[in-house]
């Protein structure tokens, strides 16, 4: 009798644990400092790809969102297509700006983004193999794609990383079950 009572709250909390603490994912993107005569901050797209290369969700797009000519979508939309892989895989289906996804370009340095499953812009992901993809394209510069494969849902805390050679520094994926 006593035993049954003491176990009940534990069982309850176990049931509640899944919805209350959805698995989360954080991305840390390093934009390298480049010694070039003409520097423009890169456009960067960050998204999650399924095993078949389809886009599960775009997490962030940084571009020139200034609206100086009264252009509500931002000055830089013309060049969104230069993030070629993102554009072709799904970027072109997005009507920018998107709340919580699009934002201004970022300076050199490390930038942390945190997402929680089921809370926009991070979609609910069916269990399986995915890739985090980060693509950077810079005006009068180059383009680079860095990707990190991962399994969802994560079973343990993990921080896989990948490093770009030119346009991107270290990209770190932080997985929390």
């Amino acid at each position: 009798m006593h035993v049954r009572y003491s176990l009940a709250p534990i069982a309850m909390s176990a049931l509640l644990a899944t919805p209350a603490f959805a698995a989360s994912l954080a991305v840390n993107i390093e934009i390298p400092r480049l010694n070039v005569s003409e520097y423009h901050r890169p456009y960067v797209a960050t998204w999650i790809e399924r095993a078949d290369n389809t886009v599960a969700g775009t997490l962030a797009v940084w571009y020139d969102v200034r609206t100086k000519t009264n252009n509500p979508e931002g000055e830089g939309t013309k060049w969104l297509k230069d993030m070629r892989q993102w554009w072709r895989r799904g970027g072109r289906e997005l009507a920018v700006p998107v709340d919580g996804v699009t934002g201004a370009t970022k300076p050199a340095g490390k930038h942390q983004l945190s997402f929680s499953e089921g809370t926009a812009p991070m979609p609910k992901l069916a269990p399986g193999a995915y890739k985090l993809v980060v693509e950077a394209a810079r005006e009068v510069g180059g383009r680079e794609v860095v990707s990190i494969p991962f399994q969802w849902p994560p079973t343990a805390v993990a921080q896989p990383t990948a490093t770009g050679k030119e346009e991107l520094g270290e990209v770190k994926l932080e997985l929390k079950p």
Binding site: T77, K78, W79, K81, R84, W87, R92
Partner: protein
């Protein structure tokens, strides 16, 4: 003596080879970009030359220029300029979807022997006018009809499906003609009057031919369903061409119809 004859023969063969090669100049359209994020302007070069895509021979006549918007409407070219070695025009691409920019040629040419002088005569015209070019007393009249399409594609935003033409030689792309990427396989169908063009030779040549010693054309053949596929070796502009002939003429006196197709396709890295 023998040697000089041989040399002369060699020269004649070489000359005839040049003559036939000069007949096979490449006609092309070269768009400044094939992918746009939003409404923009694409500027297009139109020329005929051996080197792809170097305007070093002759401009491509734009009499048959047809620009079709994603919604099927016709778009007029802007800022058209006729230069010595190329023609140039702009297209305002405003609608989301895929534009077809094509130079369509439908014509006929005739050759005959003049009765009075016995000299060989030739004339060009359209299916309707060619009959008037030939004198009534002409001898050995031969009329050939021609049908050609030189085209390229440009997409704003998300690609849209292209409406098939159903006439002459045409390329049907599985997916979008502006979605081609290095290392990936693209599948095509070649149609002749809307039906699969079987066992037809197709060549695909990367641009910048002036910077390599070999032409490195990709030689392909359509299968029983008119299909073929290309795995793009490098990024860049490519020229795809095919030609054939048959006897489905609309000009009564014409025995032969010659058909040509050429497309400029961009492959992304």
């Amino acid at each position: 003596m023998t040697r000089s004859i041989l040399r002369a023969t060699g020269l004649a063969i070489a000359l005839s080879a040049i003559a036939s090669a000069s007949m096979a100049h490449n006609a092309w359209l070269l768009p400044s970009s094939t992918v746009f994020s939003k409404a923009d302007t694409v500027t297009v070069d139109a020329a005929v030359s051996n080197d792809l895509f170097v305007a070093n021979h002759a401009p491509l006549r734009l009499d048959g220029l047809q620009i079709t918007a994603p919604d099927g409407s016709t778009v007029k070219p802007e800022s058209e300029a006729k230069l010595k070695l190329r023609n140039v025009f702009d297209v305002s691409v405003a609608q989301p979807g895929t534009y077809r920019i094509a130079v369509v040629n439908a014509g006929a040419f005739a050759s005959w022997k003049d009765k009075a002088t016995g000299q060989n005569k030739r004339a060009r015209g359209t299916a309707e006018t060619i009959g008037k070019e030939i004198p009534a007393d002409a001898q050995d009249v031969a009329i050939t009809q021609s049908s050609g399409r030189i085209e390229t594609f440009v997409t704003v935003g998300k690609p849209s499906a292209l409406k098939p033409i159903g006439q002459g030689l045409e390329l049907i792309v599985a997916g979008s003609p502006t979605d081609l990427v290095k290392g990936e396989k693209a599948s095509f169908t070649l149609n002749l009057d809307g039906q699969p063009a079987k066992n037809l030779d197709v060549t695909v040549t990367a641009g910048n031919t002036q910077y390599r010693d070999k032409l490195e054309e990709i030689k392909l053949k359509t299968d029983d369903k008119g299909q073929f596929s290309v795995t793009w070796p490098t990024a860049g502009m490519y020229w795809l061409d095919a030609s054939t002939k048959d006897n489905k003429t609309t000009v009564p006196q014409a025995k032969e119809r010659r058909l040509n197709y050429a497309a400029t396709l961009e492959v992304m890295p």
